[in-house]
């Protein structure tokens, strides 16, 4: 199976170790990976802040870029949600029939990481070893837009050595919300404070998620507060083995 990796703009810039983990993980599972070096961004930041005009060109570019890809894997549920939920409206507004056709044909081939593992590869046990106490934060896009459901839990359940701690109030937003985190920084921080209480109460060593955006926000506060806890993208847990333990994010 061949898959093209859409790393996302912020993973490329801020969390390359997540990308490296995705590569290690998928190749271990026998997937032949490609990486189109022309990729940049899906346009979510612009679309969500109200800069729709700017988002048009980014959407068009992304769809065209992956036209010929057999499969696209994305280690970020918010970017996949952007493509599934907002691209139709943007493309319709552009009135480009050819683009719409390309988009419609592309989308069934686009997978968020956990979707790819569970639905496409059909695996829950990816051969991972991560001997730590871990709690899982269900980011809103993954939870509601992608309806990832049990997938992340199934994957974590098969990680050897991992002690899973259920996060209370798991469906409550962490407060990141993209540019909301700076436009409404105080409310974002208040939501973060409340969420952090829940995360720390689990007694886990690591908080994981399928989105580095939420983890950047949670982890940033943990670091500021010397909270004694770290964040790590799930790809890094799943890529972790005895021989090649995970690179920690923090």
């Amino acid at each position: 199976m061949r898959a093209s990796l859409f790393i996302t703009c912020y993973n490329d810039t801020l969390y390359p170790e997540t990308g490296r983990a995705v590569v290690r993980l998928l190749e271990r599972l026998g997937v032949e990976l490609e990486f189109n070096p022309k990729q940049t961004c899906c346009g979510q930041m612009h679309a969500n802040t109200g800069f729709r005009a700017e988002a048009f060109s980014q959407a068009k570019r992304l769809v065209r870029l992956y036209n010929d890809a057999e499969i696209v894997v994305v280690p970020s549920s918010s970017c996949v949600a952007m493509m599934r939920e907002q691209y139709p409206g943007l493309i319709e507004e552009m009135g480009n029939a050819e683009l719409l056709k390309q988009y419609t044909e592309l989308m069934p081939r686009v997978f968020e990481l956990s979707e790819f593992l569970i639905d496409k590869l059909g695996v829950e046990d990816v051969g991972a070893y991560f001997p730590h106490r871990v709690t899982y934060h269900a980011s809103c896009h993954g939870l509601r837009a992608l309806e990832l459901g049990e997938r992340p839990y199934k994957l974590l359940a098969k990680v050897r050595g991992l002690s899973f701690k259920q996060l209370p109030n798991t469906d409550r937003c962490c407060g990141f919300g993209g540019t909301f985190s700076v436009k409404n920084a105080e409310v974002s921080s208040a939501m973060l404070a409340v969420k952090l209480q829940d995360v720390i109460s689990t007694g886990a060593e690591y908080c994981t998620a399928l989105d580095n955006s939420c983890l950047m926000h949670l982890g940033g506060a943990m670091h500021r507060q010397y909270a004694g806890m770290k964040t790590i993208h799930m790809a890094q847990i799943l890529a972790s083995t005895n021989e090649t333990p995970a690179e920690a994010t923090l």
Binding site: P16, T49, G50, Q58, C140, G175, T179, V182, T249, L250
Partner: protein
């Protein structure tokens, strides 16, 4: 006992309210208020969740309600005209108010016709929307609220912070203090039962003596010309049974095609609003009934921007709202801020989309940004309003407005996003920008590899969060190095 000193509580006015990011600051620093809000929300949410879980056709009801409400909106003119014909035939008088100012004038005119210097009111947010109480006061009419929460707010000169439980931010000792002072009952304890009884006694005298009442409407039925009010306390029944003259103010979007349609909305409303299978009292009346209730009945239909909302394809769904407040009960932003910060009688997620639109996007432009787009509201909305979708649409309208302003080119957010767009257009520009970013941020990166302070907009992040410094090698650089020559890395 003198009641002359009762004044109306301050009305939340979107034209005067501070921007949301500023309005939240005093609230976020108030632990008592945040605790009250969280407690109230948790109670209602738990009750709601239990009842929704037991209703196996909940999603079917939501679908039916959403389609029904949209159908009513798509045929609004026809259904309103049908309502008018039937209501009039039943002895009611229907008035049409294009805006808030006209609605106020009409209502005052009707009160003057009855020589009314006092009026009792059933809670209606629509009257808050049109700033009715201060207007009546200024024109010599005392408006007495009769809902317990509204009495608390009115006597205490406070502002509402929630649609269904407006005084949730006021605790029992505060209520005791207000009642003791304003009802002349210094002996009252802070026991909620005793306080409620005090309100019962205080209000009964008003119900029995004031012959004019003002209400809102939860729904208007086109088929029969009926009006419906849903309530818990019984003050609604008092106001619409005992007086001689009844004035109902209703937004034009409240109309349902047929009486039978209540079988959908009534199943959703109680469960969503208060976590009950059905609220204690629902009253339905049609025009005037000789010998039973008010003999003069007026309906004031209010547009005030609704028909403009109706015209916009994505935003039209805003008008499906049945005012249950489930959205704000589930909203993680509202949970921390309460309702006042939204500066409108409509707070929370629905307020964030309705208020700016009612203001024709001239005010409350920070409200569409008062959301992390988590989508919890959409999940619980009984009529399936895709609030995040409308928020995004309104954001782009705000940006399009703001773009035209001269000073905006210097706004860091605009600069940043405009720049970002350019650099995402080509990979080489993006990569160059990444390099500059990495180098630039090194200035702020500590020895531990973390950034603790940033200027300008970045400083909004670093107020409460650290940021890890940019790695020396980003992903695409790593890939190029590892894979550039089609070298296959041994999988372990």
């Amino acid at each position: 006992m003198s009641h002359a000193a009762i004044s109306t509580h301050a009305e939340l006015d979107p034209r005067l309210a501070p921007p949301f990011p500023k309005a939240v600051l005093p609230v976020l620093r108030n632990p008592q208020l945040r605790k009250n809000v969280a407690h109230a929300i948790d109670v209602i949410q738990a009750k709601r969740a239990k009842l929704v879980a037991e209703k196996s056709d909940w999603q079917d009801l939501r679908t039916a309600a959403s389609e029904l409400r949209m159908h009513a909106l798509e045929n609004l003119g026809a259904y309103l005209e049908e309502f008018e014909v039937r209501c009039t035939a039943a002895g009611g008088t229907v008035h049409w108010a294009a805006d808030a100012e006209e609605a106020r004038r009409i209502i005052l005119g009707l009160l003057r016709q009855e020589n009314a210097s006092e009026v009792i009111k059933i809670k209606t947010m629509t009257s808050g929307e049109i700033q009715l109480n201060p207007f009546l006061e200024a024109n010599g009419v005392n408006a007495f609220e009769t809902d317990l929460a509204e009495i608390i707010l009115q006597l205490g000169e406070l502002e509402p912070s929630h649609i269904v439980v407006p005084a949730l931010h006021v605790n029992r000792s505060q209520v005791r203090e207000i009642f003791a002072r304003r009802m002349g009952r210094p002996e009252l304890s802070d026991d909620p039962k005793e306080l409620t009884n005090a309100a019962r006694t205080f209000l009964r005298q008003k119900f029995l003596s004031i012959p004019t009442a003002i209400s809102g409407a939860n729904f208007l039925i086109a088929e029969t010309g009926a009006v419906g009010v849903v309530e818990s306390e019984g003050n609604g029944r008092m106001c619409l049974t005992l007086p001689k003259t009844m004035i109902t103010l209703a937004g034009i979007e409240k109309v349902l095609p047929r009486f039978q349609d209540l079988e959908v909305t009534l199943q959703l409303l109680g469960r969503s609003a208060t976590g009950e299978r059905m609220n204690p009292y629902t009253s339905i009346w049609t025009g005037v009934k000789p010998g039973d209730g008010p003999q003069k009945f007026h309906v004031v239909l209010l547009d005030n921007g609704r028909s403009s909302i109706l015209a916009r394809k994505t935003e039209r769904q805003t008008l499906k709202c049945i005012r249950c407040a489930a959205c704000m009960n589930t909203c993680p932003v509202y949970r921390q801020t309460g309702g006042h910060a939204y500066g409108s009688v409509y707070p929370g997620p629905i307020g964030a989309i309705l208020t700016p639109q009612l203001m024709q996007m001239k005010h409350a432009q920070t409200l569409p940004y008062a959301s992390s787009l988590c989508g919890a509201c959409y999940e619980v909305c009984p009529v399936k309003i895709n609030i995040p979708q409308v928020l995004l649409e309104l954001r782009s309208q705000v940006v399009n407005q703001e773009r035209k302003e001269a000073g905006r080119i210097f706004d860091p957010m605009y600069l940043g996003l405009r720049a970002a767009n350019l650099l995402f257009a080509r990979a080489w520009i993006f990569h160059t920008a990444q390099w500059f970013g990495k180098v630039g941020l090194k200035l702020f990166t500590g020895k531990d590899g973390w950034i603790h302070w940033l200027p300008s907009m970045g400083g909004r992040w670093t107020q409460t969060r650290d940021l890890r410094g940019l790695p020396d090698e980003n992903f695409h650089q790593w890939w190029a190095k590892q894979r550039g020559q089609n070298k296959r890395k041994e999988a372990k």
